[in-house]
């Protein structure tokens, strides 16, 4: 799985640091193997787009890395540490270094947006109420929400606002690594483009590493440094988008050069900015 280092990474060098390393992962439910000897590396400071057909297990892999799904065999190291070998207290510290944006936001419905964002701060850090208030409001602004959204409950928010609020919560502790599960699904094209820009900007200012599961070809073209494709329980290709576009693999060809993908790929090729 060779790849060139990400172009816009703050720490880009000849030997980029591997922040997530998945080796020979096997995950299954009952008789069905969803991951079968999967390998994947994510480098510090990059935006990795993760694609795959529906039901191929993109979300399962994310959940396996997060430790929400039991694995049958294989190793997952995060920040250079074998996740399964860590004692519980160290695992907790590790979990504070990542932020997760779930597909449907997963905001706590009984708390306001501000309280949602403050939740991780309140639970894991000893801070003055003033600073917590200020930081929560700052995060709300960073993700492009209006200040009056702070006191709203998740049920009072639109789909795009929920995603933004959930991103603000994922960023509450300034994590080094952010998992985004289909961040632009359910957003209109303008909202999705805004969200892509937002992720790009935050990634550059905060020096984030972003692991992004997506179906959105636009996101892949606009903000991903590298793309990994999942099929048949394995990563069939990982590298800069151009490598995947040129790949002869039949699934990749139909994904990128099918009716919808082809239109975009052609457009991008014409502009010549990949």
């Amino acid at each position: 799985m060779s790849s060139s280092p990400p172009s816009n990474s703050a720490n880009a060098g000849d030997n980029p640091e591997v922040i997530i390393s998945v080796r020979d992962l096997v995950v299954g439910f009952g008789d069905k193997l969803v991951m079968n000897g999967l390998n994947l590396d994510v480098y510090r400071g990059e935006v990795l787009g993760f694609v795959g057909g529906s039901g191929q297990g993109k979300s399962v892999l994310t959940r396996a890395i997060l430790g929400l799904v039991p694995t049958r065999s294989g190793h997952i190291s995060i920040f250079g540490k074998d996740r399964d070998a860590l004692p519980a207290d160290q695992r907790k510290l590790l979990e504070q270094r990542w932020g997760v944006l779930f597909q449907n936001g997963a905001l706590f419905s009984g708390l306001t947006v501000k309280q949602n964002i403050q939740m991780p701060m309140r639970e894991t850090r000893d801070l003055s109420p003033r600073l917590m208030d200020e930081l929560a409001m700052l995060k709300i602004e960073l993700v492009g929400l209006k200040p009056d959204a702070a006191d709203k409950f998740p049920s009072e928010l639109s789909g795009g606002m929920v995603k933004r609020a959930a991103l603000a919560r994922a960023l509450a502790l300034d994590p080094e690594l952010v998992f985004l599960d289909e961040p632009t699904s359910g957003l209109d094209p303008i909202g999705a483009a805004d969200f892509d820009d937002l992720i790009g900007t935050l990634q550059q200012t905060l020096g984030l590493t972003v692991f992004m599961v997506t179906h959105d070809l636009d996101s892949l073209f606009s903000i991903c440094d590298r793309v990994a494709a999942l099929a048949d329980g394995k990563v069939i290709a990982a590298g800069p988008l151009q490598e995947l576009l040129d790949s002869p693999h039949p699934w990749l060809r139909s994904y990128f050069h099918g009716v919808r993908g082809g239109r975009l790929t052609a457009g991008v090729a014409a502009r010549g900015d990949v």
Partner: protein, 379 residues
């Protein structure tokens, strides 16, 4: 950064009159220390006229650290101290730019006094109570109207759904109802025998059991149990369908939620509750019979012949007549509260609780009205 976990606490040193050097990790991991260091910039800087903040020693910076540095800059600026940042890494400069200090608009939601809140709550509850009654009556009217429509076009009636709900309410509810009524029948018998023994009238315990169980206890316990068991289930089912827009999906298909969801459930309740009450009555009498035999030495044969003298058909009818009405009240409250669910899971929880509390309360109130009614007509 050999070990990313190794944390350098944030600190600042005064290198000369006009210069403060920040060192270490200015991140949230330092918690309150970070805040106090931020404040220290202001304290030390206030003694100077033109301050140079040297950021070359900062090993890490996050939004919280950048925010606090910016806050200190702002506070010093207000105290007429000019602040200049020197030796800042480009990525830190970007972060500092993104986290420019400013006041946030205060929450626009007003905070009235406690007394005001209390009175407002009281008023709201009173108004809601009246509204609830109004809504309940309207809902009953709608239900009757839907029944009429179904009666005119019986092909629209969902028979499968009715049978399914009768199974889940009646058949699957039967074991627990048999059990609690058996126990309560036994307990009433035991207390009856103990108390009446003192007057040498322990055989009258049979009258007590027969009349109490058939007129009141059997139907009341069953209705309360069903309100808790099936009323809550109905509210939760309809509520979660409301949450996931399934009710809206029905409406736009030209179907009515009343016809598809509510009528089968309420009818299943109305048909199941009398049957369950009958089972409950028998079970309580069996419990009473067993206890009378054990504690009072009244053999089952004697028990049955005493029971025959104590009760008549109308004793049984008084109880069983109430069952469908109680079922209707439980069903209406459960469906209405389910439909009143809003978007959040919390709201669903609240509706389920409210539905169970209200239906149990209404079942008991209804029982009281029936008691007055039967006394008035001398039944």
């Amino acid at each position: 950064m050999a070990d990313p976990n190794a944390h350098q606490p944030p600190d600042l040193t005064r290198s000369n009159d006009q210069r403060l050097a920040l060192v270490g990790d200015w991140t949230l991991i330092a918690q309150r220390l970070l805040e106090s260091k931020g404040q220290q910039i202001v304290e030390l800087g206030a003694q100077m006229h033109a301050l140079k903040l040297d950021l070359s020693g900062v090993t890490r910076l996050d939004t919280a650290g950048a925010w606090l540095i910016n806050r200190a800059r702002r506070q010093l600026g207000e105290a007429d101290v000019s602040v200049e940042l020197i030796q800042v890494r480009p990525e830190y400069l970007k972060l500092l730019g993104e986290t420019d200090y400013h006041e946030f608009a205060k929450s626009s939601r007003p905070r009235p006094s406690l007394m005001f809140d209390l009175l407002a709550d009281l008023g709201e509850s009173a108004v809601n109570g009246v509204k609830e009654f109004y809504r309940g009556s309207a809902f009953l009217g709608e239900f009757v109207w839907t029944i009429k429509r179904i009666a005119l076009t019986p092909a629209h009636f969902r028979f499968t759904s009715l049978v399914y709900h009768m199974e889940s309410i009646g058949l699957r509810g039967a074991p627990i109802i048999i059990l609690i009524n058996f126990l309560v029948g036994g307990i009433v018998a035991q207390q009856g025998i103990f108390q009446l023994q003192r007057f040498g009238a322990s055989s009258y315990a049979v009258d007590l059991i027969g009349i109490l169980v058939l007129r009141e206890l059997g139907v009341l316990l069953t209705a309360i149990m069903i309100a808790g068991r099936s009323g809550s289930a109905i509210t939760a089912e309809i509520g979660s369908m409301k949450m996931r827009e399934e009710i809206d999906a029905l409406t736009v298909m030209g179907l009515s939620a009343g016809e598809v969801l509510i009528v089968p459930r309420i009818l299943a309740l109305v048909l199941s509750l009398p049957i369950l009450t009958y089972i409950a009555d028998m079970s309580a009498l069996a419990g009473g019979m067993l206890t009378s035999w054990t504690y009072g030495g009244i053999s089952p044969t004697a028990f049955l012949s005493l029971l025959k003298e104590a009760i008549a058909l109308h004793t049984f009818m008084v109880g069983i007549i109430k069952a469908p009405f109680m079922a209707l009240v439980i069903g209406l409250i459960a469906s209405m509260d389910g439909l009143a669910t809003q978007g959040s899971a919390e709201s669903l929880g609240r509706q389920v609780t409210a539905s169970v509390v209200k239906s149990i309360f209404m079942v008991i109130v209804l029982d009281g009205f029936f008691a007055i009614f039967f006394a008035a007509i001398d039944y």
